[in-house]
């Protein structure tokens, strides 16, 4: 179980996260949902220990994560819209992360195959299109072994076909025992991919739980989607 308790983050006068508390069960695919500026990325960075917070604690299986080594052992966060190792080839970088995470060659090749990266292997990261760069980042994320994988806007840049091909991979990763936390601003993508949701608005928690639980909290009908729930809660 991943528990976040009273998490707060301020940037000067701006209160990016305000006293957030929620729980995400193990092996689930949780979506951090909210409009632009809601604090999704700040929340993920704080949970991964990559941004100092102003208060709050994070627990993984009832163990507090506070040191860098503990964060590194539990979380792996993949940023959105970055081009890491820009001058190196896709193949070289994926091989590096395969070695670092002690994954097999078959596992790497499988990821390359399923994410459609074969034709980009010799290309430099800086030369990749937005969609290819996103798939490359997802490949790095899936190469990692930490129990909690956090992906920032994983569907941004993917077309519908690529999204549909990627969704089963998320399910498989979850089935393997990993917990996925995805920051998503497209509610339709979130509904398709996630089984739990954390709704954020202006740095505050608007609600958290499964779709059915959120429908009950928001007082919406069972046919209501995330959009109606979000509007009802904010």
């Amino acid at each position: 179980m991943l528990s976040v308790k009273n998490l707060s983050k301020h940037f000067g006068q701006l209160r990016a996260l305000q006293d957030l508390s929620f729980e995400i069960s193990e092996r689930s695919i949780a979506g951090i949902i909210g409009p632009n500026g809601a604090g999704k990325t700040t929340l993920l960075l704080s949970m991964a220990g990559l941004l100092p917070t102003n208060g709050g604690t994070i627990y993984w299986n009832n163990e507090q994560t506070s040191t860098n080594a503990q964060f590194r052992r539990v979380f792996f966060y993949v940023e959105d819209a970055v081009r890491p190792h820009a001058l190196l080839s896709v193949e070289a970088v994926l091989s590096f992360y395969r070695c670092v995470f002690r994954r097999t060659q078959n596992y790497r090749d499988g990821l390359i195959d399923r994410l459609g990266l074969q034709s980009f292997l010799s290309a430099r990261i800086s030369e990749l299109s937005k969609g290819a760069a996103k798939r490359f980042l997802i490949a790095i994320g899936l190469m990692s072994k930490q129990p909690v994988l956090m992906l920032d806007e994983p569907f941004d840049g993917l077309d519908l076909k690529q999204t549909m091909e990627f969704l089963p991979m998320l399910g498989e990763t979850s089935a393997e025992g990993r917990t996925l936390v995805l920051s998503i601003h497209q509610l339709r993508d979130a509904e398709r991919a996630c089984d739990r949701f954390v709704l954020l608005n202006d740095g505050r928690l608007a609600g958290s739980g499964t779709l059915a639980e959120l429908q009950t909290i928001a007082g919406c009908s069972q046919s209501s989607g995330l959009e109606q729930i979000f509007l009802a809660l904010t």
């Binding site: 991964a48 990559l50 100092p52 964060f71 190792h85 995470f101 990692s144």
Partner: protein, 405 residues
């Protein structure tokens, strides 16, 4: 290559008369005449250009998100930093290649190289490069952008020059300038391995790399970073201060220019009480410079506890009348005994010191006769064109080869 060609040309001009008159040859030292001036350009490249290379290696990782990813891998941060430093040492080796090539050319032209002093210079450049790497990595870590980091790193390196320039004549600035980057390299350029400088540089490098480790993780709070930095700073200062107790140095020059003859040094070593030398000479006075080179620096190497006070340097020269009766006087004190002299020559100062310390002077002095190595090399214009074109061509080929991979 320009430095090498200029140095060879000037050395050749100076060597011309010595080839005809062998007595003049002893003043021709290729280490001072060719090697150190050639490495002067490497020093400039390390000071002005190498920080950009080092900064780019970290700043690009910060900007591209690679650092964030790598900090989350099972690799320990210290291993990541070690790999970064190793890579930069390789780059440093590449930056030093023109110097090594210049040494090879000098040998091919028939020039003389004395291995210990040459290796001393190479060690100095290696340590200086390591220091530049550590400064640059720390600057890149604490800065938001590569350009800010470059400004910070250059403020350190060029600030050293300003400090050296401003230090002349001012005692406290002179002390501070002793900590400048240029001052760290200077003994090596003189063929000296000073035991306080080597650990001093190592301590500075380790401290800066430790600070880099503390500051480069974005998840640490400012208070954590500041408290850990203070600990590193205090530890660094303590170790640095301790390193200054290692006052000994090794003279690796072929002509042993920093040392008295071994018999004299052995006799001076028998003086157990601390010596105090009070000099009434302005620092810019040529006699003071001669005295410093021929006596004081050598004396300090044998008797590290010697206290040297320059009365003229510690007084303001603004209102000096020029009628000071003591000007030019040097006072030597050992315990309650005192002697005065206006001579700055070791031939007169050393007997005076032996008398003052009640130590018998050496029966004989085995004065070393340095033969000197004059060499006139006529470099044709084709050599110049070849040397000027070779390195840029190699650099371009290297860039082209690696950029296409």
């Amino acid at each position: 290559m320009y430095s090498l060609i200029q140095a060879i040309s000037l050395y050749g001009e100076a060597s011309g008369p010595a080839v005809v008159t062998p007595q003049m040859a002893s003043g021709l030292n290729p280490f001072d005449g060719v090697i150190v001036p050639t490495y002067g350009s490497i020093y400039l490249a390390l000071t002005l250009l190498f920080p950009f290379v080092a900064i780019r290696s970290l700043s690009s990782d910060k900007d591209s998100g690679a650092l964030t990813l790598m900090l989350q891998t099972p690799l320990r941060p210290i291993a990541l930093l070690a790999s970064k430093v190793t890579l930069l040492l390789l780059a440093l080796f590449l930056a030093e290649l023109p110097g090594l090539f210049a040494l090879l050319l000098w040998r091919l032209f028939g020039g003389h190289l004395y291995a210990p002093e040459t290796l001393c210079l190479l060690l100095g450049h290696f340590l200086y490069g390591l220091l530049i790497i550590a400064i640059s990595l720390f600057a890149a870590t604490i800065s938001e952008s590569a350009s800010t980091a470059a400004l910070l790193a250059l403020a350190c390196t060029l600030g050293s020059w300003v400090l050296d320039f401003a230090a002349g004549g001012n005692s406290w600035l002179t002390r501070i300038s002793g900590l400048s980057l240029t001052a760290a390299l200077k003994p090596f350029e003189q063929g000296l391995i000073a035991w306080n400088v080597v650990p001093g540089i190592v301590v500075a490098v380790i401290s800066l790399l430790a600070l880099t480790l503390i500051w480069w993780h974005p998840g640490r709070s400012l208070s954590f970073k500041l408290s850990r930095s203070a600990t590193v700073f205090v530890a660094g200062i303590v170790c640095f201060s301790l390193s200054h107790f290692l006052a000994r140095s090794v003279d690796l020059t072929e002509d042993q220019r920093h040392s008295f003859p071994p018999e004299v040094s052995a006799r001076l070593g028998l003086i157990r009480e601390p010596l105090r030398v009070t000099v009434h000479l302005a620092p810019e006075d040529p006699r003071q410079m001669d005295f410093d080179r021929a006596v004081l620096k050598k004396l300090l190497r044998v008797l590290p506890r010697t206290e040297i006070v320059n009365q003229e340097a510690s007084q303001s020269t603004l209102f000096k009348t020029g009628e000071d009766a003591n000007y030019g006087l040097v006072v030597y004190e050992i315990g309650a005994r005192r002697a005065e002299s206006r001579s700055t020559s070791p031939e007169e100062v050393l007997p005076l010191l032996f008398t003052l310390a009640a130590v018998d002077p050496p029966a004989s002095e085995n004065v070393m006769n340095y033969p000197g190595y004059p060499l006139v090399v006529k470099l044709g214009s084709h050599w110049g064109a070849f040397l000027y074109a070779l390195w840029p061509a190699c650099s371009f080929a290297g860039w082209f080869f690696f950029s296409r991979r």
